[in-house]
Symmetry: none
Subunit: 416 residues, 2 copies
Amino acid sequence: MDAEIISVGTEIILGQITNTNARYLADQLRQLDIKSHWETTVDDHPSRIIEAIKQAEKRAHLIFICGGLGPTDDDVTMSSVASALDTELELDQDYWVKLQNDFAKRQVDLAPENIRQAYYLKGGEPLSNPVGLALGSMITQGHHTFVVLPGPPREFKAMVSNSLIPKLRQLTNGRTIMSANLHFVGYPESSLMDDINHLLEPYPEIIATSYVQPDETQVRLTVYDLAEEHAQKIINKASSVIIEKLGQYYFGTGENITLAGEVVQRLASHHYTISAAESLTGGLFQATLCSVPGASRVFEGGFVTYATQMKTQLLGIPSEFIEQYGVVSGEVAGAMAKMSAEKTGANIGIGFTGVAGPDTLDGHQVGEVWVGIQYDGQLIKRQLHLSQKMGREAIRRQSVQLGLLMLLHLLLHKTE
Amino acid sequence: MDAEIISVGTEIILGQITNTNARYLADQLRQLDIKSHWETTVDDHPSRIIEAIKQAEKRAHLIFICGGLGPTDDDVTMSSVASALDTELELDQDYWVKLQNDFAKRQVDLAPENIRQAYYLKGGEPLSNPVGLALGSMITQGHHTFVVLPGPPREFKAMVSNSLIPKLRQLTNGRTIMSANLHFVGYPESSLMDDINHLLEPYPEIIATSYVQPDETQVRLTVYDLAEEHAQKIINKASSVIIEKLGQYYFGTGENITLAGEVVQRLASHHYTISAAESLTGGLFQATLCSVPGASRVFEGGFVTYATQMKTQLLGIPSEFIEQYGVVSGEVAGAMAKMSAEKTGANIGIGFTGVAGPDTLDGHQVGEVWVGIQYDGQLIKRQLHLSQKMGREAIRRQSVQLGLLMLLHLLLHKTE
């Protein structure tokens, strides 16, 4: 069964709001394995809503029309859908009485025009709105099913998850889906997917999709319609093959994990604490660690030593040492790591120095970054080669992520 | 001239990413007074891209096709557009040579398939990509103009603002549009717009639209079709009325300004330097300052004192003092501000302490935050009352923004 989402809203067309409803619904449909190829958005205009529905009927069996169920004259969706489907609107009398009573009880005025929000498509059924006033509606005509949903994201999500999804499950009646979500950092998506698709050749049952986020790339492996145990086995086997080959970029599998969260958890399980001294990243490494609830178990404090003399003044790195190696060097990154751990009494220290741009520094190119880690008696130094084109912010963010990845791999190695 | 935006991307259709590009472009078109009624999204499939273009041709004269310009086999947009327009692809030879040289210089491999990103529509022109690899393209055929743009939001925005908008201005040639973009922090959008719409009642020529971003709310005042001088006068007058009334939330007017950028600029113009000591914000204030190019003029370094004993160990705040007032207090925020300035030799110090959650701390509620500022011989302490409902990340970000706003207002007061 193919689906199509039609969003209705002048404010979307004018760029005044981002259409998050379509994404939310599309994600729900994907999880139910309902395919979709088109999405359409039109402004609040009856003829365009009707035309969009006529178009969608040719392409899909399950059609969602979202937004424009408010009480004002601009809100023309329910009546436009009725007219496209050659049906009428029906007042949900019980609901309207209940609404009036609820408002009277709360001593809040209910405007007479709110009655418009108590109508649904005749021949279909109303969909209840757990957090707002407007009813939705669902109707089947021949091979097509039409669903009308409200626009405010809170109401939209509540109606989709409470009222709609159980009905969609009945419609699709029970395909089994098994999936795993693998997280990677520091490898371009196109190369990553080339490698993964190659590795997955022996697993034709698996569909791999990638999802690029600012700080990572997620790869979802999905298997449809196999017995649960068998599907799980295939996914586990394919995951191990991928992790074995691309382990240097991999940081975890799961739905809501972050690299910083993984590092905090590993540190905590070893009862380690960490400190940092940051130059180009300017505090972003520490802020990223602290974004993890419970970071205080592993992080007590650290330094931002943006200017060269602060590396001397706050950390006690001799200025001759910095002059000898240059402030953008593995030696200085290492000294920053070492001294931040020493000054705070942490088990581990990490130091970042480099050039975020826009200008070069002391003859070093934008994107040249050094990470130093003081860990378990060792001083590890690594140069990151980041592209100048990424821009200042992405260079700083990527430096933080790659520093976290180095830490995670050290901590994992420790475990094995 | 009517426009239509076609977004191409399986990851949008699958609900894996939110389509922020369409909103950004729609907002730009609105500012140029280019009307639009439809938006379409299709997955990465040639026949659907072609069908979407054929549909749009019937409804619009200016058609944007966005996304799918990567180097992989999934990226079929440019060739599909060429086929819909009955033209071919042309290699931008100079660009491809330049790309290869740039990569060679950085000793990074450029994959052979990246050559796909150096093609544009024959008969049209390439659009340069200031932050990525893929060229865009623009071509006019009869009454229609087609524009092909890349999918990654950073590249998309850069190409739209740098390469596309100047060309669109030529196309639309000559409606006069005058606008001002006012930036606010710390006041809910709905209250802000209620106040502003009320203040704008005497100015019916002005259309006010708001745009909520994670760290601020932008309000655009626009006047159409008035003589430039007159339009400017009305906008200036309305702006002053708004700023007078809502000045405590206002931080600037302009297209590409940020609160941190304004603070850095003011500090620099006074030849001030600033340091910080951060507890709940964990380095985010300093990282936000350092996100401004040229921050090194005003910021040399500072401290993250997440744990209580680090406030003693790194800053030298006596532990008895912290015990007396409690770690979540104006006094401790003030001492952090004072000591961070003292330890680094900065003119100004700022300290953040409070509860980001999810758990309460020492009997203080989530959302209780104190900011201290050591400035010009004074020690200023202010409590921020943030809503627990915002969640940990938003509490930390909002604390940073409100600290920056306090600083800006102190610095502006200094000037007057």
